[in-house]
Symmetry: C2
């Protein structure tokens, strides 16, 4: 933790179920309203009332079809399938809020950088700088098969391509339009000064993008870069690019090891390791008293689905748990590909050999992450403990039962966190990047790799140091 503040993001996916399969069945759940504009607008307004930094929307273009080799469980559970496109609901929420940020997941594996840069800049324009991009490289074969890739790229190829993808979008966002390129001078009849708009001339192994960026600069130019990969390639990518890093683990010391590793790698890249904000998912079930909160959790658990959790876990670890004996302890398959997630569970209780059913039961309500249940003071204390022990800057709060989860958190936990000086009394700064860093600094830090591609003033008169920078003249 760099200061006293705990950063908060609401976390959702654009589907009936996500981290808490089965809870859509709860009589109070409105999760089935995921296709309605009013549902999203109301959720965003609640988060803004709770002074959350952002709403973080995860996404995937594939279906969970590893479990038993079909998508049947996913469909029955409404689990990440059906799934709509999160980019398209943001402007409605932005129009109904003034400060809340929006972090949206877009895979760079199925996009062209030239088109994706325009999408994110459009949203940064429409929100006046409240946009973050969770960069993913996509792991589900079912997505690759349907999107024109005859075979999925290897894990390392995906990250190599992603690195070049970032180079291209940084050039478009930071280097193509000079700061004063748009003059909008009615008398002179000049909207943009062509001498200050530059083709990026990118020629790489994966992408050729000769032209200038289609969009004029937005408040942040580069949106806040977020990343969640836990593999060695994912951590190295986060250390180079991410301003907000999503990490996971069942115990603070497990998470701490990841945070320390990535902060160290970031320092090796010449970045201030404290400029990276680390956030983990923490499911919160809160009520005015501890007894009420535990009763609420018991109620929620009674609707949770073991099969939904196992289908989700199968999609994450890429092992068909439906083929295993659900009551056989899992040790014997540990070498068969179930790595990070399973190790997580094992390490959380080293003496225990879990069966798949026990894991599915353990995941009820809280999914892969930890659970904070109790009174506002108990929940606030647990968040503080995690932030301290794991060196975290904040938390993603999964929306396990809309609208109760965000409403409870905003009404009960946020005031307690404010009393403790952990949540600010009001937003400071105007852009998402300012919420994570400092008011008055809406642009990437000078030591962020995107800054390398900045168009200086008088850019076209300077000698070209970088083949990516060319003048139109």
């Amino acid at each position: 933790m760099t200061d006293g503040r705990i950063h908060l993001n609401g976390m959702k996916t654009f589907a009936p179920a996500h981290t808490a399969p089965g809870l859509w069945r709860h009589p109070l759940s409105q999760a089935h309203r995921y296709r309605e504009l009013g549902f999203w607008v109301r959720q965003a307004q609640m988060l803004e009332q709770g002074f959350f930094d952002s709403l973080f929307i995860t996404d995937g273009l594939g279906v969970l079809d590893i479990y038993r080799g079909t998508a049947e469980a996913a469909l029955r559970e409404g689990l990440q399938t059906p799934v709509d496109d999160p980019l398209l609901v943001i402007s409605a929420m932005a129009a109904a809020t003034a400060r809340l940020g929006f972090v949206v997941t877009v895979s760079c594996t199925y996009e062209q950088p030239y088109a994706l840069a325009r999408k994110l800049t459009t949203l940064d324009h429409l929100t006046d700088g409240r946009i973050g991009w969770n960069v993913v490289t996509s792991a589900l074969d079912s997505a690759a098969r349907n999107l024109g890739l005859t075979e999925q790229l290897s894990h390392d190829e995906r990250y190599a391509r992603a690195d070049e993808f970032m180079e291209v979008v940084y050039k478009l966002w930071e280097g193509s339009w000079e700061e004063d390129a748009v003059v909008a001078d009615r008398a002179a009849g000049v909207y943009a000064d062509p001498a200050k708009v530059h083709p990026i001339g990118h020629e790489g192994a994966w992408f050729q993008v000769p032209g200038m960026f289609l969009c004029e600069p937005s408040a942040q130019r580069t949106p806040v870069i977020c990343q969640a990969g836990a593999s060695p390639a994912g951590r190295a990518f986060a250390a180079r690019h991410a301003e907000e890093v999503f990490v996971s683990g069942q115990r603070p010391d497990i998470v701490r090891a990841i945070v320390d590793d990535i902060r160290g790698q970031a320092a090796d890249c010449g970045r201030d390791p404290r400029s990276l904000k680390f956030v983990t998912s923490m499911t919160v079930v809160s009520a005015p008293t501890a007894a009420e909160a535990h009763a609420k959790l018991d109620d929620y658990r009674s609707f949770a689905s073991v099969e939904g959790n196992l289908a989700r876990l199968s999609g994450t670890v890429l092992v068909d748990i439906g083929q295993l004996d659900l009551d056989q302890p899992l040790e014997y398959v540990e070498t068969a590909g179930i790595q990070g997630i399973m190790r997580n569970f094992t390490i959380a209780d080293p003496a225990r050999r879990w069966t798949p059913r026990e894991i599915g039961d353990f995941m009820k309500v809280s999914g892969y992450g930890p659970l904070a249940v109790g009174s506002p003071a108990q929940v606030a204390g647990e968040l503080e403990r995690w932030a301290e022990e794991a060196d975290l800057d904040g938390f993603n709060i999964p929306d396990v039962l809309p609208p109760a989860t965000f409403a409870d958190f905003t009404e009960l936990v946020v005031p307690e966190l404010q009393r403790r000086g952990r949540v600010w009394p009001d937003y400071e700064g105007a852009t998402l990047r300012e919420y994570l860093g400092e008011p008055g600094q809406p642009r990437v830090a000078d030591n962020h790799p995107a800054a390398r591609y900045r168009a200086p003033k008088g850019f076209s008169q300077l000698p070209a140091e970088d083949p990516g920078r060319r003048s139109t003249r």
Copy 2:
């Protein structure tokens, strides 16, 4: 015209200037506010007050860089560059309106059908069925160069690919999810019935899409299909697929010939030729009296840009008019590639040999299309005359000077059209398709090609007649 009603669409692009270059300089223009949510929301609300069918947003991923071989004129004019992504502003306008439809231009040349189908369904969900898709195949080389195509596909290849693209999206929209696939049964714990969700198993020349659609059905399933191509391949495409066709020409008889041709081809495809709605762009400058309207036009013309119009025309006809003598009559280049548009001007006044400068001057305010200027009664009469003589169903009204253009039309012309029974007293039906056809019919007509891919009830029990239809069982 099939009935008395004249269909109206507001027409905009997500840029400072579009059909009327230079008018952003007018002191009353708010065109420079194109990046602001509030600007779009207000425009949409005005159109809804005028009972427009839709707001139609054009788009292109390239820059106008044919004129003098650079984008300099386009940048100075803010002419279709800079340009933001129109898909992303729709949900904000939808949240602020209840009935207005939204037609959005997306090129199928740079998209995968699996991903684009999800985008449009997401918008159809969020708007409850108010979405139309203007299918374009993209002509600007500058877009192809930046989007990973080392060379632009030929015109005919683009349309062949587009036909298969439509087949894939129709299968996803109409055939993958049966009508009653989503049960959302809390007691049984079934969100969707997996037996009623089918992989489409598409294997074609351009696309392989084995999987099921990611989204549950929306109100319209297939969005309203719109198309604007005037080439032989474009007209054939419109005859097969389009429900709303955008045609252009400077005289009603020129437009009539195109309308007759496409209606005839549609009949040959087994479609009801009257089920295709034909619309042309008509720039309208209206005021309470004819004298005031002509004074307003003179004022607008004084801000219009000849160079902007020639830069736009160069991008359309793919000839660098900046290389020509602006005062030399154009006959001698007619064979050099300037075809449809130029012929339009020539035919409009057969005796006249236009110079480029005269064309640029003629295009002031109204661009390629006709102009209706006058009192509300005069404008209404001109729209009625065109609808009658060209067999048109309606008009796209370009937003030449926001917010005055839509405000004038809604406040002055619409009441006059309502008096004449040409604009309805209120919306009938809930979806864009119903506005164009009949209330109660939100889905594609039975003789539309999309209907061929409909999943019947009990689909998975039927023998597979079409290799595109497979059961998950």
